[in-house]
Symmetry: C2
DNA sequence: CATTTATTGCTTGATCCCTAACAGTCAGTT
DNA sequence: AACTGACTGTTAGGGATCAAGCAATAAATG
């Protein structure tokens, strides 16, 4: 199963004369597989990846977070955050706190139950991550991170 | 805008002592941005990324493709393919051909309009890809591809 | 102070994706 | 021939995402 090329994985008939295109497909496909793997774990706790990401962001915040700030951090729109928070609030894992000074905003925070949930799931999540990336050295990881940083920089410059 | 670390991009308060976790986030975030950038292009032609991916796969097929084969190639479930094909068929871009030998399956193919659409959009798509990845050398791309291959291999071994 | 501009969170409608379950069909077995 | 098992495409239900647009509020401007 290891050491398969993307071409073989996809059963592609198209020749990959276009290395840039192959790079894009490779990134997207890897991300999809990583997300799906995570989803399997979260489902055992009745969580979706988006919901877990919110919980994790709230655990590690050190300033008050509005929904807008949360959406920037998680790189989704405010509309998306609204619906995810509705779900989490319904489960009693997070709460929206009114802010007297500014009546437009809420501060979002974990409830006690939300904290417990994160404490339970996060270690398993990290364990899984480590399992998935077991084949990569720290050095290789840093190289990937650096390269992808440059990809994102290119998107910001031209695509946005 | 360039040369920003992921930490800075996300405004993260959490220290990244966990390089593996940072790698995963980096991959997923880059894929998201790439997809979004593509979506903007496709929308001009009333296409979604999923729809374009189907059209592209059909253009470069060299065997008959069933819906199931298509779903494997695009790494989504058969249910997803059904709905995307319904949309594309509604627009007259693809067609489902009954196969007498096996009444369970359809062969999916581009219509003339579908071929025209691909011919129009694909060059723009490739142009955009090249713009986005302009900062990366071929060598660097190959390094990314190779590293991500190993990530996916790890997923296949343990996570699946 | 009044007007304009910006921000915030929410709603709506669309698309995508998934899981689960289903009926139809095929293939191998008994 | 009948049964069992596997495969195919579909449907139903739920969640995430986006774009667009809204009302309330805040900030900036005149």
């Amino acid at each position: 199963m290891a050491n398969r090329s993307l071409k073989a994985e996809l059963g592609l008939d198209m020749p990959f004369e276009d290395v840039l295109h192959e790079t894009v497909l490779s990134i997207i496909r890897t991300a999809t597989l990583l997300s799906q793997s995570g989803a399997g774990l979260f489902r055992q706790f009745d969580l979706t990846p988006a919901q877990f990401n919110v919980l994790l962001a709230l655990k590690y915040k050190n300033r008050d977070l509005t929904q807008s700030a949360l959406s920037k951090r998680l790189v989704v729109t405010r509309a998306s955050i609204t619906s995810v928070l509705d779900k989490l609030e319904g489960k009693g894992l997070v709460c929206r706190e009114r802010v007297p000074k500014n009546r437009r905003i809420y501060y979002v925070a974990l409830t006690a139950a939300g904290r417990d949930m994160v404490e339970e799931v996060e270690p398993l999540y990290r364990e899984r991550i480590h399992g998935l990336l077991a084949g990569l050295s720290q050095k290789e990881c840093r190289a990937i991170i650096r390269s992808l940083e440059r990809v994102r920089a290119g998107i910001g410059d031209s695509g946005e």
